[in-house]
Each structure stands twice: as C-alpha cells, then as structure tokens.
C-alpha cells in the first residue's frame, strides 16, 4: 500500500489548488483539512466511500456550500466562492449527480439556462444551432431538442447536463458521477469526452464509484475517507485493489475478501464499487 501523499507533479502551475478546506454541518465534520491540486489538462478522480465528503467538496467548489476554512487558489490567485455565480465567473463548471435540469423546459432552454444568447430578444436559432453542434460532439442520441427534458431518459438527461457545462468554455469542469446513470455506449462516449476535455487543456475533477472508469481516464486519483485526504496517487502506479484499500482504509476489506473467495486469481478489477 503506497498511501504516501503525492501531489500532482504533472503540468506547470495547478489550475486549482485547495489547502486545508474544512466544512461542518452542525456537529458533523463533512470535510477536514482537505488538500487537492488539479493541473491544466489533468483528470483528477475524486473517490471515496459514501459519506466520504466527495459531494460536499464538489458543492464547495461549485459555490453551493461555502467552506468554513481553508484557501482556494484558482489560476494562481486566491479566490472566494460564495455563490454558484462566483464559481461560473471563475470558470468552474459543475455537472451534478442529482441532475440540475428544469423538467418543464426543453433541451435548448436547459442548455442555455442562465446564459441565454441575447437576453432582450432571445436568439433561438443560434441557440438551437449551437445545441445541435454540442450534442453531435457528444454523439448524443436525442431525437429533438424542442421537447421538455421531462420526456428524456436518465442517460439523455446526463448528456444534456454535461453538454451544458461545456457551453461557457470553462477552465475546470467538475463531473459528479458522470457515468452513474448511463448505458454502455454512452459511458464510453462520456469517457471519450473527458479525454477530449483533457486534450483541450481543461482541468477535470471526476467523482466516481466506478474503478474501471477511474482507471480508464484519470491521471491522478485523490482518495477521501471520512472527510479527510487519504492519499493521492498517479493512476499508472496503482491498482484498483490499492485504491479500494485507500477508500475503505484497510487492505483487508470486504472487496478484497470477495476477490480472494472467488479464487480466480485473475488480477481482479472490481465490478462495482
């Protein structure tokens, strides 16, 4: 087990670096002294068990919650994020796990919500054209963009949510379990997309429970456990078992026991988290 804290060495100056972020809800310390670095063109997988503080950290970065203490440095400057608007203004786009779409609005309206083109006389044609471009880029299987989001499937909604985060050309994109509700082909598409984001130089934070996805696209794995850092690893130098060990806090854990019981001795990639 190589749980030595290893900061992101890749790239030059990190896009985002967090130092000592803490957040409590009443008597519960959701985050305690969390550090995190994301470089340009780097995909950081944020992993941890349920209740490890992943979603809280994401919400702090997105401006939904405000950190109680700690510093956020964005593109070399110290930043304060107290509202979703602040986060967007900095260039942080977030795709939430509980999809933040308005069901009564159609796809185009949702994509451009809050950033409509020409707010005094909405430019529907330009917005629809741009929507089709984006959806094509993501190979989205959405038959028409003029139906309410309520009539789309979970995967289609996830695609809309991801497409929306790309509209503002953000520096850092946070994906909260981007593949949780997706089919096989759409998962692959999203992973391709994440790689494309990296090529374009975006920093990406991906929250995931799926070790296969993490191994497939992440550069760095940052493990949270009970609201604290529990190791930062280069993904090339760590196996799925070691990540799981860091997540659960022991090398002898439920997942490894199962793997041993199966006795197959194949270097197991755990199926589900």
């Amino acid at each position: 087990m190589t749980a030595s804290a290893m900061p992101a060495e890749q790239g030059t100056e990190p896009v985002l670096s967090l130092r000592g972020i803490s957040k409590t809800f009443g008597a519960v310390a959701a985050l305690t002294d969390v550090d995190l670095d994301v470089g340009p063109g780097q995909v950081v997988a944020l992993v941890g068990d349920n209740g490890a503080g992943k979603s809280t950290l994401v919400k702090v970065l997105a401006g939904v919650h405000t950190a109680d203490s700690g510093t956020i440095t964005f593109e070399g400057r110290e930043a304060t994020i107290v509202s979703p608007h602040d986060a967007q203004a900095l260039g942080i786009a977030t795709v939430y796990q509980d999809l933040a779409l308005c069901e009564n609005l159609n796809v185009v309206e949702n994509l451009f919500l809050g950033h409509e083109l020409n707010k005094k006389r909405l430019d529907e044609v330009a917005m629809e054209t741009r929507s089709w471009e984006l959806l094509r880029e993501l190979s989205a299987k959405i038959p028409t963009v003029r139906i309410p989001v309520a009539s789309l499937s979970g995967g289609q909604r996830q695609t809309v949510a991801i497409a929306r985060s790309l509209l503002g050309d953000p520096t850092l994109i946070i994906l909260d379990e981007p593949t949780a509700a997706l089919g096989v082909a759409q998962t692959a598409e999203v992973l391709n997309l994440i790689e494309r984001l990296r090529e374009r130089g975006h920093g990406v934070i991906m929250v995931s429970h799926n070790m296969a996805d993490v191994q497939a696209v992440a550069d760095v794995v940052c493990v949270l456990r009970l609201g604290r850092n529990n190791g930062v690893f280069n993904v090339d130098e760590i196996s799925s078992e070691e990540i799981v060990a860091a997540i659960t806090g022991a090398s002898d854990n439920v997942v490894s026991q199962r793997a041993r019981r199966r006795a197959g001795a194949t270097p197991a990639t755990p199926q589900e988290g």
Binding site: C102, L105, G114, E116, K119, L122, V125, E128, W132
Partner: protein, 418 residues
C-alpha cells in the same frame, strides 16, 4: 412548428429517424391533435368553454351576443384582466398573491384622494398610485427572500393590512367620485377606437404575425433548421385576419360602440408580457424558477431577484387594475377591490391555463380566463340573477378548470411530457 418545405437536405433537427414526419398543413394539424391528446391542452379547453358559455347564455337571453353587450363585456373585463396578468407572474413561480384585490383598492383610493381631494395632477396621481403597488411588491419580496415566509401568508397579511389602509384613506365619507369629464374616466368609459382604425389594427396584427413568422422561418432555414412552412403561416394569418375582421364589423354594427381604447391597452399589455415570458432571458428564468428552483440557482440565475421582480410586477399590475377599475366606475368606495376581485383575478389566470404549481402558463391565459369569468358574470346579470348564483357558478367553473388541468397533467405524465 416543425415543417419542412423541401425534403431534399434534411434539417439538423429533423434527421433523427425516430421523429415521426410532419410536413405541411396536414402535419401541423396532426401535430396539434397529438399534442392535445398528450395533455398539452394549451388554450383549447378555455376556447371550448367560451363557446359553450356563449351558446348557453345566448339561448337564455338573445341580448347576450348583441354587439352592444359584447363591447361592454370587453371593457368590463379589463381591470380584473390586468390584475390577472400580474397573478400569472407569481403563479409561474409557483407562488401566490392573495392581496391583489386590496392593493387595487388602495391604489384606486390613493388616486381619488390625491386627484379629487388634494388637486394633484392626474398623471402624477396615477404614478403615485402605481408606486404603492411597486412598494407593496417590494415589501413582500423582502419578507419572502429574507425571512422565507410563504407568499400565501405574506399576501394574506397584506390583504388585511391594505384593506385597512383603503378604509383609512377613504375616511368617514367612504366613497370618492371621479369627475366624469376627466380624461381617465373618458378613457375607461367613452373612448372607442374608430372603426377604420380598428380595421387597420387587425390588418397590422395579421400582417405582423405573418411577417415575424416568415422572418423566423427564414432564419431557421438559413441555419439548416426546420421552420414553419409558408402555407401554415399564411393559413394562420388569414384565420386571424378573418376572425378579426368579422369581430370588428360585428362589434361596430347594430348599436355596438365597438372596441374601447382601454381594451386595446389591455391587449398591448398582454402582448408585451407574452413577449417578456417567451422571448427574454428574464421570462425564461421565471419558468426555470417555477420548474426547479434549485436547478435555476445552480445555473447562475439570481433566484431572489426573479422572485422580487415577480412580486413587484404582480402588485404593480394590481395597482394599475385598481386605477382602471376606479376610472371605469368613476368612483372608488369601500367595496373597491373587495369581494370577488381577488378570486376572479386568480381564477381567470388558472382558467386560462396557468398552472397553480408553477412553471407553466402564459400571458394569453389572463386574457382568455377573464373573458370566461366576465362572460359568466355578464350573462347572469342579463338573466337578473343575483350575485349568489354568480359566485356559485364561477366557483364551479374554477373547479372544472383546475380539474381539467390536473387531468391534463396526468396525461402529460403518462406521455412523458410532465
């Protein structure tokens, strides 16, 4: 809305093989039928309701559809219609304002006190009366946004408080008359659009409808998106033209005084609000907040500001409605804005098709809804039935409208349009 004239290059938004084709006029009709089946009723139930009401009352009293009565009905519907327009703003957010009646009464009282008793110039008196509406909405929105008190309770408190203010303003005399020769009273009672002008207005509306439709369709075709076909646009404009011309000729024939300027003013307000709701970023953010407040907040919309704007718009429209009501009556008294004004305005918005649950509705619903309410009230008055029946029947119609909305919601849910 999605027709394609030339099938050759497939538009970006029509190339998915799962899309059932809808071409030309027939496709448009079939599309509409499908939408209604799926629960996107739009204005269909209200218009059907209006037709039924007209047939019933005409059968009971042949004066109902006389041009004279219809001219009067249109004018009579304006003050509450304006208030209903404000109600649509708050209903879109899933909120409610129960104090619109009282606010309208206070605005009328302030207008009359300033204009008649204090000799303040008319325009200034109107502006000050409207400012009371702005103030009421601003106060509600501060309480709503800062303290999180439900709008139902805030406006219930406002209902009582503003009723008290109205009584205090009117003092012991209890009523103030507006002079009949004032411009405001003439505007509300006597100023009718000359027939020629009314015809020109109808032509302009039909022409404008075609021009904007054509312009939009061209822009969409240029961007390789499907747009409405010229056939469809032409058919729609001709329908509007024919209906408009028939209405104008009828209203100006046989003793009818035609269309009042105040009604035209109301139509303009409805069109402006329709534009705001459907074509501006602000309107879109209202629908977003009404549909999913958290999603709107995360999208960077200043939700508090949207609430504030809606409450202020609602109270200001209520004050404007109060000013028009006192002009229409040429007086303000202790009953102004009381009794059924509140409920009629809310009922009008809901009957017209604005959902009580937020996120669905239109400015047109205020117009259609108030026509239903006013037609019922007018028809019953012609039958010499007193207000007890009017209340009962209006209550029944309101229940029916909400029931239709609920059934439509269910069928929307089952056909995935939620």
């Amino acid at each position: 809305m999605s027709q394609l004239e030339t099938p050759a290059p497939v538009a970006h938004d029509r190339d998915d093989e799962r899309l059932v084709g809808s071409h030309g006029l027939r496709g448009a009709v079939r599309g509409t039928v499908d939408r209604v089946r799926a629960g996107e009723l739009g204005a269909v139930p209200v218009i059907l309701g209006l037709v039924v009401i007209c047939v019933v009352f005409q059968a009971l009293n042949s004066l109902f559809l006389s041009s004279e009565n219809l001219s009067n009905l249109l004018l009579e519907s304006v003050p509450t219609g304006v208030i209903a327009l404000g109600i649509v703003c708050v209903l879109l957010l899933g909120e409610i304002d129960l104090s619109v009646g009282s606010v309208s009464g206070v605005a009328g009282a302030i207008l009359c006190v300033l204009f008649v008793n204090k000799g303040v110039p008319g325009v200034l008196a109107i502006v000050l009366a409207l400012l009371v509406g702005v103030g009421a909405g601003a106060l509600y929105s501060v309480i709503f946004n800062r303290l999180g008190v439900p709008s139902f309770v805030i406006s219930l408190a406002g209902l009582l408080a503003f009723l008290g203010l109205q009584l205090a303003l009117l003092g012991s005399q209890g009523a103030i008359n507006l002079p009949f020769d004032s411009t405001l009273v003439k505007f509300a009672q006597l100023d009718f659009v000359p027939q020629a002008v009314a015809l020109v207005i109808v032509l302009l509306i039909a022409g404008g409808l075609f021009a904007t439709g054509f312009y939009n369709a061209q822009a969409r075709h240029k961007a390789q998106l499907s747009g409405a076909s010229n056939q469809l646009l032409l058919a729609r404009s001709i329908a509007v033209l024919v209906i408009g011309l028939v209405a104008v000729f009828y209203l100006y024939s046989g003793g009818g005084r035609g269309i009042g300027w105040m009604f035209v003013f109301f139509l303009v307000l409805v069109m402006v609000m329709h534009y705001v709701f459907t074509r501006t970023g602000f309107g879109r953010s209202m629908f977003a907040v009404g549909g999913n407040e958290e999603a709107a907040r995360r999208a960077g919309i200043n939700v508090h500001r949207v609430y504030a704007a809606a409450f202020i718009l609602c109270s200001t429209f209520a004050a404007l409605g109060g000013v028009l009501a006192s002009a229409r009556l040429a007086a303000v008294n202790q009953q102004s804005g009381g009794a059924d004004v509140n409920l009629n305005a809310i009922a009008a918005a809901v009957i017209g098709g604005t959902s009580l649950f937020g996120g669905r509705g239109s400015a047109i619903s205020a117009l259609l809804g108030i026509l239903v309410i006013q037609a019922i009230s007018n028809g019953l008055t012609l039958l010499n039935l007193n207000s007890s029946y009017r209340f009962m029947i209006t209550g029944g119609v309101l229940l029916l409208a909400v029931a239709v909305d609920s059934v439509a919601r269910r069928s929307r849910a089952s056909s995935g349009r939620a």
